[in-house]
Symmetry: C2
Subunit: 346 residues, 2 copies
């Protein structure tokens, strides 16, 4: 019997952050008697008087939203990072180390329409979100106190999202966070060795292999990475190696909006539900240094596994030992690729 | 204004695995409008005819449990790792690397009584669980194909536990998993530099500082680590630097059972609910090499944050950037320490 990656338990290496994951292809048949999630409610009004993100409504702390159309950005009323944190350090021997951290946290409403989500928005309106990301990346990134800008979206109550109004967040910080730091190191090592970005070479190979590619347009590819951890984890990678969204040309910005919509339509269609995920852009730090090794990409980490109500739990073995998945990345790609391209609600 | 670790956002370093975490003390006041978990059901019968772990009942695949009393161990009917996996490797350039992985997965019932949990069991019965861990560690660890033995417990539906019958698991593998590997490296570096284990020195300092210590007996200390990520994350550390549970003396085994019970009573009392967590032992690999740097400990990763129904979500920023917590480890320790020592149901 020969080792077969589609059939036998194995580990895969993530060259982007240096970790390994465990794949147990045979385990997909396991029955489930555990927790069943509440299904995301299917219909929401266009305006909800109780929503603190809808136009004209009051937020925590007495702020009132303007009567906005399209996108709207404001500083998070409960920011995890603040601008006025005094610098300082605890260095109580090598086992007790702490450093003060400052930054700016923002909330971005994607649309005034409470009922929408990215897959249901028009590409031109998602393009407005991309434009706002660019403006914010420029403004925050040029602040000498900000060295990393993390743009992300938590979608769905099961992903800790406390409000269904279509929105994302930006947490920007003085320090470079853990994950981008790991990816920075791996990309640098690769670039110094090959003179090309890691994700450029990865993408070229995937485009030839095709098994994990989901969708592409002129500027971006959506795929299931070879080292995906979450059941339907995906990545959007720019075809041209750019370090951040400011380097995208006009057409490329629209193409990013286009593939964001296409990928999330697949997601919604998979279980015919509004598909929960955390997604976010990874880009070069904004500390003024040059990062030719950095290649812009967007990660999608969705928890659902079997249906609209049964998710994968990253617990126990995953927390203490190694992240584990049941279906293979190739099977996940196949299932997503085979879905209709039109949103199931239409 | 001086930097104050109890007040200002900061990063802390985890010397055991080399990662940083973000602490936002001021953020604990944030209101919560997000997902509310189902409360763990309070009462269960001593025997449930539908439970596949109760004595005499049938499991998946037609196996029938014996009429056991106390503990009972069997091979997981849906093992993520198998013994007959053919060895092999994929090495399709540095970006596509995979290795076959083999191992043995077991399930351990803690008691025949379906209604119990660790904090409600008698110490002498938890001691039987510790003895079974030892037997299993010895048997699996002496198998030349097994180089790491991961003993763990997922408790509660919100931690992906699919059956409330008191039980834990053991996943043992040929390869050394990601987390123990990181801890191995850090402990080795420290030991080579100081000639003492990292956790020995850490423990000595914590016992003097006292602010993060929760409970101790002759052989073990329960504390909130300085670098805790989850709101009420804790660790049990052996006072004597031992590499694995087989090196524990008779009295130490009972003391481990004792502190396991005491800690989980605190947990249950915190929100007067059966407190969900993933917990597991970290020990030296079983590959036949010597690991003087390894220091036995047990991690507890519980998700609840504000109440029996509101948990912390590790999503978005946590997945893409840096794990983040709201209350400080010191505040968490204070709250746990101040609780009554008797289980709230008594
Ligand atoms: O083995 P169980 O209890 O069915 O499954 C649970 O524990 C496993 C090991 O931590 C996880 O991989 C699963 O996601 C979780 O649901
Ligand atoms: O900021 P929100 O949406 O209130 O909160 C959510 O996103 C944050 C950033 O990913 C997480 O730290 C929180 O645990 C989560 O509930």
């Amino acid at each position: 019997m020969n080792f077969n990656i589609e059939e036998h338990p194995h580990k895969r290496y993530n060259p982007l952050n240096g970790d390994w994951i465990l794949v147990s292809p045979h385990r997909a048949k396991r029955p489930w008697q555990g927790q069943v999630e509440k299904q995301a409610s299917q219909e929401r009004p266009k305006y909800d008087p109780g929503c603190y993100l809808c136009p004209g409504n009051e937020r925590a702390g007495g702020h009132k939203n303007p009567d906005y159309k399209g996108t709207f950005v404001f500083t998070n009323d409960f920011s995890a990072l603040l601008t006025d944190t005094p610098p300082g350090e605890i260095n109580d021997g090598e086992l007790f180390q702490a450093k003060s951290e400052s930054g700016i946290c923002k909330v971005i409403c994607f649309s005034e329409d409470h009922s929408l989500t990215i897959p249901e928005m028009e590409v031109e309106n998602i393009r407005n979100v991309v434009d706002l990301w660019c403006l914010q990346f420029e403004e925050l990134g040029s602040n000498p106190q900000i060295n990393y800008v993390q743009i992300f979206e938590n979608k769905g109550a099961i992903m800790g999202c406390s409000n269904p109004h279509p929105h994302g967040q930006i947490w920007s910080s003085e320090g470079i966070p853990v994950e981008p730091e790991k990816e920075s190191r791996a990309q640098k090592t690769y670039f110094e060795k090959h003179g090309r970005t890691l994700l450029n070479d990865y993408l070229q190979t995937e485009l030839v292999k095709e098994t994990r590619v989901l969708e592409q347009n002129d500027s971006f590819v959506a795929l299931v990475p070879f080292w995906a951890v979450w059941p339907f984890e995906t990545m959007i990678v720019s075809k041209r190696p750019v370090q951040n969204i400011l380097q995208l040309k006009d057409k490329e910005r629209t193409d990013l909006a286009d593939i964001y919509k296409k990928l999330t339509i697949m997601y919604d269609n998979l279980f015919e539900t509004s598909f929960a995920y955390s997604a976010g852009l990874h880009q070069a730090p904004t500390d003024g240094k040059d990062y030719p090794e950095w290649h812009l990409h967007m990660h999608f980490y969705p928890p659902l596994l079997r249906s609209a109500t049964v998710k994968k739990f990253m617990v126990g073995y995953e927390m203490l030992a190694t992240p584990q998945r049941d279906i293979t990345p190739e099977q996940a790609a196949q299932r997503l690729r085979d879905l209709p391209k039109i949103h199931y609600k239409k």
